[in-house]
């Protein structure tokens, strides 16, 4: 329920913008949220600077933000870091999109037909627990040392988790919607396409957002396998020669990509699902 802005705009209007932050399920204006978000990053940055500058941790292990900034500059100017970032984003998104395109139909089918669920659930429950690093040699044997094996490793870490989240989402679609669809003549396929899918969409997008992050956590595993590019490779090679500032630069790059992606998807979610009321 979005209230219209007809209320008198007094001095207390902006004040109440801050108070609503502390109200149960209150809504805050996005500029207020932004300010707070930035503030919390500044606080972390200050804490980091303090820990580093006061030498609580030796600089070999925790370089100060300034030194990391210099490393970032070096990476961009000297080593074409932009290309590494590009290739990593490409790999992650290919793996993620393939995962999603497989997980959405399979997850919906798993929740819709017990035969699909009964066949796949135990197998997926089994596979998704496995440590991906241990599966690297097998992936190489099957797929060789090219792009394919890197993307497959990212996919391995993502798909089996995502498909269960999607199946759970589909399972939670209220049976009232399904029954309504039935009495309007929808067949199974139509039920899934026209009812399950849109009904579960908001929570599915939340879960896709979550698993996109998971996919990124596998980057370093995928990009130490016969790679010579990508953020994961940069981190790994810097780590090997104890170039901690470069390691942090790589970590920072991933974190920032994550932050931006997540915030973007959250924003899209709010725009796309306004019908959920607010």
């Amino acid at each position: 329920m979005t209230e219209s802005k007809r209320r008198p705009k007094s001095g207390s209007a902006t004040e109440s913008q801050w108070r609503t932050l502390f109200r149960f399920r209150g809504k805050a204006r996005s500029d207020v949220e932004l300010t707070i978000g930035v503030a919390s990053f500044v606080a972390i940055l200050l804490a980091w600077t303090a820990v580093a500058e006061l030498r609580w941790i030796a600089p070999q292990f925790l370089p100060s933000p300034l030194i990391v900034l210099q490393a970032i500059y070096r990476l961009f100017t000297g080593q074409n870091f932009a290309a590494d970032i590009g290739i990593s984003i490409f790999r992650v998104w290919v793996a993620f999109i393939v995962s999603a395109l497989m997980a959405i139909p399979i997850g919906i089918l798993m929740s819709s037909y017990r035969i699909v669920g009964a066949v796949t659930e135990p197998v997926i429950d089994f596979i998704r627990y496995l440590p991906v690093p241990a599966l690297v040699p097998l992936t190489l044997i099957w797929l060789g040392i090219g792009e394919m094996s890197k993307i497959t490793l990212l996919w391995l870490g993502t798909f089996f988790q995502l498909v269960l989240l999607i199946a759970d989402d589909a399972r939670r679609v209220p049976k009232e919607y399904v029954e309504t669809g039935r009495t309007l003549g929808a067949n199974d396929r139509e039920l899934m396409r026209d009812i399950l899918l849109p009904a579960m969409l908001p929570s599915m997008v939340d879960n896709l957002r979550i698993t996109l992050g998971w996919c990124w956590t596998y980057l370093i595993i995928a990009e130490i396998v016969a790679a010579s590019s990508g953020i994961g490779f940069v981190i790994w090679s810097a780590k090997r020669y104890v170039k901690t500032p470069e390691v942090f630069a790589g970590i920072l790059a991933i974190g920032i990509i994550g932050l931006v992606t997540d915030q973007l998807i959250r924003w899209l979610h709010r725009k796309a699902f306004r019908y959920l009321g607010s």
Binding site: E176, Y177, T180, R182, T183, E190, D194, F273, Y275
Partner: protein, 267 residues
């Protein structure tokens, strides 16, 4: 007339931790094509359950239900349903909700689907709200969305569970008249649940009165015989109407008292 809907010795019990709870007890009933049957009965007696079984959404524990001779095995477009908790799809607007059922009719072109859904939109008085998402409209309006959607899908049998419950008197009267028109024009068979005795008499060819749970039929009243002639809003003031009204209220009151006594004995 051959029975269009045949409920044959149907019983239903729900499982619970304390064993099966009987809800419908050996009910038999036949309904002719084009007949308008109203179910009356105390809250919780099993009306919704019986209607859901006719709609194929639940299955009898014993007995069988036939539609046009064929056993009912599941829901279909032939058996349109307006649910007691009028459910609509929150991700669609009012108009798109109404249009939803037309997707699955291959006898209807896109343009015709537009025309039909606009027609029913207007019928339920929601033209001004066509583009509102359904949780931006009031309770009564949401109920009208559900009614329009079911009518637009043009089922053979209309199963309506307290459809007019949340409507104001005017809208209600208008929709009652429209419903009679539609079913006359298109010879629809209707099963209709209401707690409003006036509404029941006004609409029904037959009123079936159920006992408290487990539901048994305690009376099957041929309204068409008792209140002859055309149904108009004025016929509600006539003697036969008022007599029947009194009679039904008496039946209900008696059943309720009997039931109350049982309840006190039990509780």
């Amino acid at each position: 007339m051959t029975p269009f809907i045949a409920i044959e010795r149907v019983s239903k019990a729900f499982g619970s931790d304390a064993g099966p709870v009987p809800v419908i007890d050996d009910v038999s009933l036949t309904i002719a094509e084009g007949e308008f049957v109203v179910f009356l009965g105390p809250s919780g007696c099993g009306k919704t359950t019986l209607m859901r079984m006719v709609g194929g959404l639940d299955h009898p524990s014993e007995g069988l239900i036939r539609l046009a001779g064929e056993p009912v095995t599941g829901p279909s477009r032939a058996k349109g349903m307006v649910f007691q908790s009028y459910s609509s799809f929150p991700w669609l607007t009012v108009l798109k909700n109404i249009r939803f059922g037309l997707k699955y009719r291959d006898d209807v072109s896109e343009a015709e689907a537009d025309r039909i859904s606009r027609h029913y939109l207007e019928l339920v008085g929601l033209t001004a709200y066509a583009e509102f998402y359904v949780n931006r409209v009031s309770g009564g309006m949401r109920q009208r969305v559900a009614i329009a959607r079911t009518l637009a899908a043009n089922p053979q049998v209309l199963l309506m569970d307290e459809p007019f419950g949340a409507l104001d008197a005017q809208t209600r009267e208008r929709l009652q008249v429209q419903l009679l028109d539609i079913r006359r024009a298109e010879r629809k068979t209707v099963i209709f649940v209401t707690h409003d005795v006036d509404e029941a008499i006004f609409l029904a060819d037959r009123i079936v009165v159920f006992s408290a749970r487990p539901a048994r039929i305690i009376r099957d009243i041929k309204v068409a015989e008792r209140v002859p002639g055309e149904r108009t809003l004025d016929s509600r003031e006539g003697r036969p109407f008022l007599d029947l009204r009194r009679e039904i209220l008496a039946i209900i009151r008696e059943e309720a008292q009997y039931n109350e006594a049982a309840l006190i004995a039990a509780g």
